[in-house]
Subunit: 182 residues, 2 copies
């Protein structure tokens, strides 16, 4: 079976990928410090991270990166979602969105797969939604309480259900479908 | 005389450095795409950029990076100052600071000098000030209209005066003093 290294500092991600690829590929965890490239496009960031990781490992691997983008804020916080969440939090985002009628926002996860020869393939998953007027729900983390898909925020959707329809799940599904075709 | 390459995509920076180093070093402009490292510390970012540029050029060079940090926002926007300015602007910052009594903020420029052997030396310049309640003044750019040192915002200080006391000028002065000692 194909072997793929999941390069991340987060072991939970590895479990998720492993269960996703049961029967398709064998997944192992590689912990590596990857320089964080700055770019507005999360697919470019993931690609650069995969190139770097491949230059160190020389084997098939995946890395990923996620952005949270609010239309009315020209895509802010975008790929800096984690930094911005830590600094100004959901309260800061809600303050910035006070009086703003266009509430559209989306999550995007990009997965970059470097194959055994170092060629990089990108798979992206997007979920469209809206920024709520206030935080709601207890599940998940980060922007989940202020990001609504339909009537529920991500933090009001049970984890098992969310992990089937999330941006990350969509990117992984797209990658797996491609891999099964190879 | 010593020759130093100023690695940047901004020719105005080169003129500023050249006039600063008249008689001390000869300055030339090198345009290069440097991957943008993500880090909370602008000195680390400048160091990594200098290492990368030296690996490409193999000659003495400087690069720089600037952060704008607001205490009450845990240092936000920090090294992402340019991105955040472009996306939410000074209006966004003022909105985040509504009702916040601690207005302290600072600018920091870090200059990284890679010498002829590739050893990297870091020089930093900081200006402490406060976020105003509203934008004032026409000079400068970026956060200048909402950043006050004493009674005037950076945008209310004539450019000639500001360029003597700015964070960037302080970093350059510290670098020049060190260079003259070598």
């Amino acid at each position: 079976m194909r072997r793929i290294a999941v390069v991340t500092s987060n072991p939970h991600k590895v479990e998720e990928v492993a269960s996703f690829f049961a029967g398709v590929a064998e997944v192992e965890h590689v912990r590596m410090e990857i320089p964080e490239y700055r770019d507005d496009d999360v697919r470019v960031i993931a690609r650069e991270k995969a190139r770097y990781a491949y230059s160190q490992l020389g084997q098939a691997l995946i890395v990923d990166d996620t952005a949270f983008s609010i239309d009315a804020l020209k895509g802010f916080p975008g790929p800096y979602a984690a930094y911005v969440q830590d600094r100004i939090g959901n309260d800061g985002i809600l303050k910035l969105m006070e009086g703003v009628t266009d509430r559209r926002a989306h999550f995007e996860t990009a997965i970059a797969y470097a194959d055994g020869e170092g060629e990089v393939h990108i798979f992206s998953g997007v979920v469209e939604g809206e920024v709520t007027g206030e935080a709601r729900g207890e599940e998940g983390f980060g922007y989940d309480p202020i990001f609504a898909v339909g009537r529920r925020t991500f933090a009001e959707i049970p984890l098992g259900e969310k992990s089937k329809m999330s941006h990350r799940a969509r990117a992984l599904a797209s990658f797996r479908a491609w891999l099964e075709d190879q």
